[in-house]
């Protein structure tokens, strides 16, 4: 699920950036530092949409770095149990397959793949139905449901299932090509 939230961060700016473009430099650095990171609390920070406020800088003794408290708005993505996501398959093996929905990694074990799909090993390992009409392989797009999340301080990992109504492959690159 996506959230638009306001966060705060203390930014340290090197003295060489002090000048007419200090503000722009600061925001650029903020984006570089924050976007793409993951916190267990808020999830993945996808993009900064607005910088609300830059507080008074504090020169640190000794280094000359200046600390600015910055308040910014950003889009955050946090997966929840029970959520339906669309993801791209990144790896298929006998135990199941891995998929990515943006920054988040999801594992779907072979238990949670419908019973009529069988693992086919080979050059391009995949899961295929007996009639061959549906195939899950690398780069397939699947719709899955998250049934468990493990949230660490800097990492989120999910378990998904496609063993439910309306879940499974939504576009098959093999068939298209």
């Amino acid at each position: 699920m996506f959230f638009h939230i306001t966060l705060e961060r203390n930014m340290q700016l090197h003295p060489r950036h002090f000048g007419p473009h200090l503000r722009e430099k600061l925001i650029a650095k903020l984006m570089k530092d924050v976007e793409g990171t993951c916190s267990g609390r808020h999830g993945f920070v996808v993009a900064i949409t607005n910088v609300e406020d830059i507080g008074k800088g504090l020169i640190r003794e000794g280094t000359g770095f200046v600390t600015f408290p910055v308040k910014y708005q950003c889009v955050a993505f946090r997966p929840f149990k029970g959520e339906i996501l669309e993801a791209v398959v990144t790896m298929v093996n006998k135990m199941g397959f891995f998929a990515e929905a943006g920054p988040v990694q999801i594992f779907v074990s072979n238990h949670l793949i419908p019973d009529d799909m069988e693992f086919q090993s080979g050059d391009m390992p995949n899961y295929t139905t007996s009639d061959g009409s549906v195939k899950i392989q690398k780069d397939s797009e699947v719709r899955l449901k998250i049934i468990g999340t493990r949230v660490d301080a800097t990492e989120i990992f999910c378990i998904g299932t496609i063993k439910d109504d309306f879940l499974g492959v939504i576009n098959d690159p093999g068939a298209a090509s």
């Binding site: 199941g96 238990h111 019973d115 468990g148 378990i159």
Partner: protein, 476 residues
């Protein structure tokens, strides 16, 4: 009262879930005699008929060993069906509880005099927590159903993996770390062995032969189980639905409940009952058995009628300075005159004269009042007479001196005799006391220093001429 549906819920739940629970230490061997299955149900049933109850009393009532009972209760506490409270208390504190129990109409135990031990004992109390029971039972049902359903379509279960070599277990959450680059299996972090998926516990026993066949059989079994469960637990679910919108009976914590129950009894017990019991309990808690009353009722009583207010007040006063029964007074004791019951004969008289008239001690208030008045009149006359006899006082004093010396022995003897007369009538202790008081009062004329006594009497006379209740006299 809305207790009944909840009690029924508890009884159903007890039979559904705790019927074959044995409450036994693991070290004890299983034998026919030690088989105490069903005890849990008995204990829960007993608790539905009570509110807060001391565990010793419960054990006695159930004819169980207190250790056994405690083990059961601890189990139920863990199951969140029962709230328990432990506190250190003197025998007196236990009495407060007993009074509260008596007030709820469940009191079989009588308050025994003379257990004034100052030693602290830890007493445990327990009580059903209906609100929590409702939730716990619902949750339990939900979990059972969910587990079966999940297993049925093996959905939403997070796969576990186990290393056959070192026995280390992994969950699907660790999948990212376990995946190997060389082949398509998961590998153990420790020994690099191939992990195998752990099959569901229910399936384990019949997995082995044809995978498809087993899976189908398993599904059937699960479905069967689910169906059976639903039909067998139907009464329970129905009862849950019935109870859903009812207000949950709430007893609050032990202290709160005790205070409430006592207050309720206090406020609604009629004055004579309180009067008669107060000396026996020394606590001022009314003895009329009253069913437990709701909070609202208590509030009404607190802002209640003037007369009742006075009664409670007088009780408090009475407890503040207790008259020791004569049989407790020994020669060497250092007591105030109030404690001996000597200084305020009037305060006692108004009570004592009534029970003397009818031993039931349940006399009506009006009766008491008239008797009081009569007594006062008589007393005033005696007073006037005695004032005339001032000259003779000195002589009388001398007389009293001798009688004073023998007072304690004499009182002992008298009370003994009285006690004998009333064997088995513990609850009417106050009669004894009153009689004693009366006896002490019988020789009041010179029992203490004449002048002091006179002044005292005057004070009392003034106070009583206000035509108040006995409150002021006791202060005098």
């Amino acid at each position: 009262m809305s207790m009944e549906p909840f009690n029924r819920l508890v009884r159903l739940a007890a039979r559904a879930f705790y019927d074959d629970i044995t409450m036994k230490g693991d070290n004890q061997p299983k034998s026919g005699r030690g088989d105490n299955r069903g005890m849990a149900v008995v204990v829960l049933d007993a608790l539905t008929r009570r509110q807060w109850v001391r565990e010793e009393d419960l054990a006695k009532a159930l004819k169980l060993h207190s250790k056994q009972l405690r083990r059961t209760l601890r189990f139920f506490e863990e199951e969140k069906l029962v709230t328990r409270d432990h506190r250190k208390e003197t025998a007196k504190g236990a009495k407060v509880f007993s009074a509260a129990v008596a007030a709820t109409g469940d009191g079989q135990q009588m308050v025994k005099e003379g257990e004034e031990k100052t030693k602290l004992h830890t007493h445990s109390y327990c009580c059903l927590d209906y609100a929590q029971i409702y939730d716990v039972v619902r949750y339990r049902l939900h979990r059972m159903k969910k587990k079966l359903k999940d297993e049925l379509d093996s959905r939403n279960t997070i796969q576990e993996y186990i290393c056959p070599n070192c026995g280390k277990r992994y969950s699907a959450f660790d999948a990212l770390q376990l995946v190997s680059l060389t082949d398509e299996y998961f590998h153990c972090e420790n020994c690099n062995g191939e992990l195998v998926a752990e099959s569901d516990k229910l399936a384990a026993e019949e997995m082995g032969d044809g995978d498809d066949n087993a899976r189908r059989r398993r599904r059937e079994k699960l479905k069967d189980m689910l169906q059976k469960m639903e039909e067998q637990l139907k009464p329970l679910t129905l009862q849950l639905a019935r109870v859903k919108d009812l207000p949950v009976p709430e007893f609050g914590s032990l202290q709160a409940w005790e205070a409430r129950a006592n207050a309720a009894a206090h406020a609604s017990g009629d004055s004579s009952a309180i009067d008669s019991t107060k000396s026996s309990q020394g606590q001022g808690y009314g003895g009329t058995p009253m069913p437990f009353l709701g909070e609202t009722r208590v509030e009404v009583a607190l802002s209640g009628v003037e007369v009742k207010e006075e009664d409670t007040e007088s009780d408090i006063k009475a407890t503040s300075m207790k008259v020791l029964p004569p049989w407790m007074i020994k020669q060497g004791m250092n007591l105030t005159k109030e404690q001996r019951g000597e200084v305020k004969p009037t305060s006692k008289m108004d009570e004592s004269s009534a029970p003397v008239d009818d031993k039931k001690s349940k006399d009506m208030k009006g009766d008491e009042k008239s008797i009081q008045d009569e007594y006062l009149k008589a007393y005033y006359e005696a007073l006037v007479k005695r004032q005339k006899e001032q000259e003779a006082l000195k002589k009388m004093q001398q007389e009293s001196e001798t009688s004073r010396a023998s007072t304690s022995d004499f009182s002992n003897r008298v009370s003994e005799a009285l006690a004998e007369r009333r064997v088995g009538m513990k609850s009417k202790r106050e009669d004894d006391e009153n009689d004693d008081v009366e006896w002490e009062e019988a020789s009041p004329a010179g029992s203490t220093g004449g002048t002091y006594k006179l002044a005292d009497l005057n004070v009392e006379a003034n106070a009583s001429s206000d035509d108040e209740d006995d409150i002021d006299w006791e202060e005098g």
